[in-house]
Amino acid sequence: MSVGTETETPTLGYARAINQALAEEMRREERVWMLGQDVGKMGGVFGVTRGLYDEFGAGRVRDTSLNETFIVGAAVGAAMAGTIPVAELQFADFMMIAGDEVFHKMAKWRYMHGGKLSVPMVLRLPTGVLGGVGAEHSQSLEALGMHFPGLKVVLPATPADAKGLLKTAIRDSNPVLFFEHKGMYRVKGPVPTDPEFLVPFGEAAVRRGGQHLTVVATGLMVPRALEAAAALAADGIELEVIDPRTLVPLDMETIVASVERTGRALVVQEAVRTAGAGAEIAARIQEAAFFALDAPVWRLGALDTPVPQSPVLEQLVIPSTDQITAAARELVKL
């Protein structure tokens, strides 16, 4: 990026990319608005919504009280009645406080009413480990979104995807859970400025090509998988790294086509391994590509423990680059 001139894809942080998506969509469509704790004057506890209150005012950027059932429930109600709310919970974990609103009302209201109402809204969910924020502020809960039909589930792993997927989410007529990784807010990357830049749902991104092993990774695990791939390339082991980007809808075609070539698959997630999204992906891979597989589908995920608060312990719980490297190295030999 040349300094001083605006190129098509300047470098931007993941958080700023989200901010840009919000600003662009609010400019484009008056009915889009935001609510959440401290999203207004403060610009969000992570600074993601900075400047939006000044541009759009208190009516469209609403600070709420400490009331998660209201934040999500009111968004659902507002969405049914003609506006397009983008609600923020300060931590994805807080979905569990508004579980009835997220997993029942937001997900099912349309179906329960025979398709006569729709719920066009986005719930922004800062997810994952951040370094020291503990068991109820660090979880990766995207699997839940897959188990309650009616939701779409998005998990961007790059600044460009953060922007393009959020814009698509806001334009989608369905309710969308948007898991933005708070540990990646400062990760920088190229981000298109075209206001019509949209990343479609249900199209996985092949982050790196390779013939020995298909690695399916999401969120923070994408850069770690790419690091592992770089390390293994030195030994002649070529990983194909696929980032599904959306879990609902899930692009199994791309994944299965890859596994049919490589004959092996490793699924990596930051979430607790047991009953996570990776279990679903692994189960589907072997359903669809069993006879092409040379080895079992392996999974890496967080240990079966809550996330401990200590930033040191926390990293022992989620998969590290080294663990991905080691698992991949072992799996290609099986």
């Binding site: 349309r110 329960m112 009413h113 025979g114």
Partner: protein, 326 residues
């Protein structure tokens, strides 16, 4: 903000003759459906839950009569009265109750019966009672943001008032002056738990002060009093002055659901007798012959609706997966 009490038949505001007849007609129509369903279930049983609203018709019809047809409605689980009064047809409502495809939700909504009609603001129902507090507040936000002066009426029971969603919605709704009217049908019971074990205060409306909104107590057997109280609250909401909490005192005539043995209950009501019957109380304002004719029409309408509905199809695999996503 202090709690006011309105009681007795004379508490009702002005009402024109034709409006009075409309109101009587709706109370009578709801009653006809209640009695019909009672009979049907006794004879045939029922899959699912039916929560009879017998005796609470006056609240439902009275409050809804204070709404404009484009105002929003979140009804409670006790009967079909709310939506009938708002303008949905008994055929649709019964079709929904019996899970038939031509109903408004096509057999998909429920637990307690759901129905929906966005055209006239009937916004549906959740299976978890009290979920409408936050949803309704959100509808109010949209109504405001879109520059309409529509009001959102939210019905709920005394039991449901204990939900945390009430607290979370009420605080912000009051600060934001959302156009809401909360109508609590206090029938003294949450299934088997009497009001004294659920509430530390005598009245649910006593909680209004905590939220800085008016609390109004009204005799729920007196349809006109309910209507008048709601009119005032609606006017307040429409004027941008925020929510009102109305508590209509009534009693649960039947079991929580049809079939409930009510062994836990000492003040059992006998059969289908309605103490201080809202239909009879309102009838005093209507010429007897007119009332008889309306009652007769209401019964005929209900009977015909049920017959029509029982002949309707329940869907199959073609409909079951539709409507999950847009």
């Amino acid at each position: 903000m202090s709690t006011r009490t309105k009681r007795g038949p004379d508490a009702g505001g002005e009402i024109g003759d034709s409006e009075l007849l409309d109101l009587y007609r709706n109370v009578s129509r709801i009653r006809a459906l209640e009695l019909l369903l009672n009979r049907y279930i006794e004879e045939h049983g029922f899959g699912g839950f039916w929560h009879p609203g017998l005796g609470q018709e006056g609240i439902q019809a009275g409050a809804v009569s204070a709404l404009r047809s484009d105002d929003y409605l979140f009804y409670a689980h006790r009967g079909l009265g709310y939506a009938l009064a708002k303008g949905m047809s008994p055929v649709t409502l019964l079709a929904d109750l019996f899970g038939r495809t031509p109903g408004s939700v096509g057999g998909k909504g429920g637990g307690t019966v759901h129905f929906v009609d966005p055209e006239i603001g009937v916004m549906g129902q959740g299976g978890t009672v009290g979920s409408s507090f936050v949803l309704g507040a959100g509808v109010g936000i949209s109504a405001q943001m879109l520059g309409t002066d529509k009001v959102v009426a939210i019905f709920f029971g005394d039991g449901s008032s204990a939900r945390g969603t009430f607290h979370e919605a009420a605080l912000t709704a009051s600060v934001w002056k959302l156009p809401l009217v909360w109508i609590c049908e206090n029938n003294g019971w949450a299934i088997s738990v009497p009001i004294a074990e659920q509430s530390p205060t005598e009245n649910i409306a006593d909680r209004a002060a905590a939220y800085g909104v008016p609390g109004v107590i009204v005799d729920g057997q007196d349809t006109l009093a309910v209507r008048a109280a709601t009119e005032e609250a609606v006017a307040r909401a429409r004027a941008g002055e925020g929510p009102t909490l109305i508590e209509a005192k009534t009693l649960r005539v039947r079991g929580h659901f049809e079939g409930d043995k009510q062994a836990y209950r000492e003040d059992l009501v006998d059969g289908l007798d309605v103490p201080r019957d809202p239909l009879k109380i309102l009838r005093e304002r209507v010429p007897a012959e007119t009332a008889d004719r309306i009652d007769e029409e209401a019964r005929a309408e209900a009977d015909a609706a049920l017959e029509e509905v029982l002949a309707m199809p329940t869907g199959g695999e073609d409909v079951v997966t539709q409507g999950v996503w847009v």
